[in-house]
């Protein structure tokens, strides 16, 4: 039989997180700090709208780009929160989670050989999606000493004449790093000068602590060269609904809609109706959840520093990214032993890129009681292994 497989797909290694998942799921009664999704249920008024839409028999396809009312409300929301203005008719597409938006944005823009700059550690899909879209991923290794922000110099050093796209993902999964207005201003100059396109994954935009999220698309000259990706999963605790969106210049959006039209048809109708309620009336829920995460964030950072581990203060998302180099173990060793000895699940930093070596991702999307229990066990572990 002939080889049925595509070379480029085979060349992509399976997600590092997946490997660890298989080990962890065999462990009975393990406590986990490994989850990348909110612990809150979707607020009831949002779920109720989804249920109502089903009762009303709204069980058909929507237009490819999404329900008009949802697109209008998304535009209102982006304007209200981040001073971004988009035309609901031509510059918004509702997608199956932020993940689909990442995929179709890359596919709409890349030619074979085009280089895509991917600052790591980062979410697991950027690199494989770039390869699947025919592009060449170029990793930029972010540094702990820069609080995992992308610096102007690192960006400059990575640009070649083939560089086309920069993927920015702040607030960041897995580091919890953010880039504020000044940080962004530094790189915006380079982006404009080198004529790059930006895919800005702002899925955690509602989860910043202490300062409001700034979208890179709000800088002068950036709107026409930025695809902003956002969604409902993290802000409204709606991961299972699979609902996200992308906004950007019509020139690119039009092509993204074409891919979406043929590959997906439309985002789930029930989720879209629930999404209208979320984006219209969900601000108090977001505030409540942000407040809870912020408390846990302080608690976790305090506990980890109390163990004598180095941990920079994360101001976004719901992760902390402590450094474990002082223990003389690799990330994977640490995570595996912690699981075996104390039955606590954390994700090795290397699951998010090679430069995550020496770090762990700890999620604080858990109740304080759960965090306390897990961190107590982790403390025992660290004390035992400190040489």
């Amino acid at each position: 039989m002939r080889n049925p497989l595509s070379k480029s797909v085979v060349s992509i290694p399976p997600s590092g997180i997946r490997k660890f998942f298989d080990v962890a799921s065999e462990m009975k009664d393990a406590i986990t700090l490994g989850v990348g999704e909110p612990d809150f249920d979707t607020p009831w008024h949002i779920r109720e709208e989804g249920i109502y839409s089903l009762e009303k028999g709204r069980t058909f396809y929507t237009s490819n780009a999404g329900l008009k009312e949802l697109k209008v409300e998304i535009c209102n929301y982006l304007n209200r929160k981040f001073e971004l203005s988009y035309d609901y008719n031509k510059e918004v597409i509702v997608t199956v989670g932020g993940s689909e938006a990442i995929d179709i944005a890359l596919r709409a823009m890349l030619e074979p050989g085009d280089e895509v700059l991917i600052p790591q550690p980062c979410y697991v899909s950027y690199l494989p999606c770039t390869i699947l879209a025919g592009g060449t991923p170029v990793v930029i290794e972010l540094k702990g000493e820069n609080d995992f922000k992308l610096t102007r110099q690192q960006l400059l050093d990575s640009i070649t004449d083939k560089t086309k796209v920069l993927i920015l993902a702040f607030p960041n999964n897995p580091t919890g790093a953010i880039m504020d207005r000044d940080d962004l201003a530094q790189i915006v100059e380079v982006i404009l000068e080198k004529d790059l396109i930006v895919i800005s994954d702002e899925i955690y935009s509602e989860l910043t602590y202490g300062s409001k999220h700034v979208s890179i698309a709000s800088f002068p000259g950036m709107r026409e060269r930025t695809i902003v990706i956002n969604g409902f999963s993290k802000s409204y605790a709606m991961t299972g609904w699979r609902l996200g969106y992308a906004v950007g210049p019509a020139l690119i959006l039009e092509q993204m809609i074409k891919i979406h039209q043929f590959a997906i048809m439309c985002a789930p109708t029930t989720s879209q109706y629930a999404g209208i309620e979320a984006v219209k009336n969900g601000d108090p829920d977001v505030e409540m959840m942000r407040d809870a995460y912020d408390k846990r964030r302080r608690f976790v950072v305090h506990s980890i520093r109390g163990m004598g581990l180095e941990c920079f203060e994360p101001f976004g998302a719901f992760y902390v990214f402590p450094c474990i180099k002082s223990l003389g173990m690799t990330s994977e060793e640490f995570a595996t032993k912690l699981l075996q000895e104390e039955k606590v699940v954390v994700v090795p930093g290397t699951a998010f890129g090679d430069c995550g070596e020496g770090y762990l991702r700890i999620s604080y999307a858990y109740s304080i009681e759960n965090l306390k229990l897990a961190l107590e066990r982790m403390q025992k572990f660290v004390e035992r292994h400190r040489k």
Binding site: F21, A24, A30, G34, G36, E37, D39, S125, R298
Partner: protein, 160 residues
Amino acid sequence: MREKILTAIDKNSKQSVADLAIMLGTTEEEVTRIIKELEDETIICGYPTLINWDKVQCERVTALIEVKVTPQRGLGFDKIAERIYQFDEVQSVYLMSGGFDLTVIIEGKTMREVANFVSEKLAPMDAVLSTGTHFVLKKYKEHGLPLVQTKHDERMLITP
């Protein structure tokens, strides 16, 4: 900070001062001082425990009583409300708008005990014009917390 502390302990008063200080980004001294202030000003009036008595093998009934009263000159409803809330059986008393004046929530061991309280203590008061007693059959949610279902984490162990 006062409001932050109140919101933080509203649904869980069991948290230690040390934890609160960490979570709110302040010092233990400040949390202790503010809580003391809030107690002194009777903004914090107590720290009861939310118990689902239905799950315990001991009889307990709750009744909600609608009470119509005659307000007293110069004292309004406060005087009569106080006469009512002094009884140990009374859990809550609210002044209401609408068809009646006071909502009185009574807890007793048996229905008879509650009935006796109404007929012997509450109804005969001079200012009380009428009462309407409603027994609670099942409690679903109290103080913003559901009493019935226990939730478990349905998320996978690890997700990206």
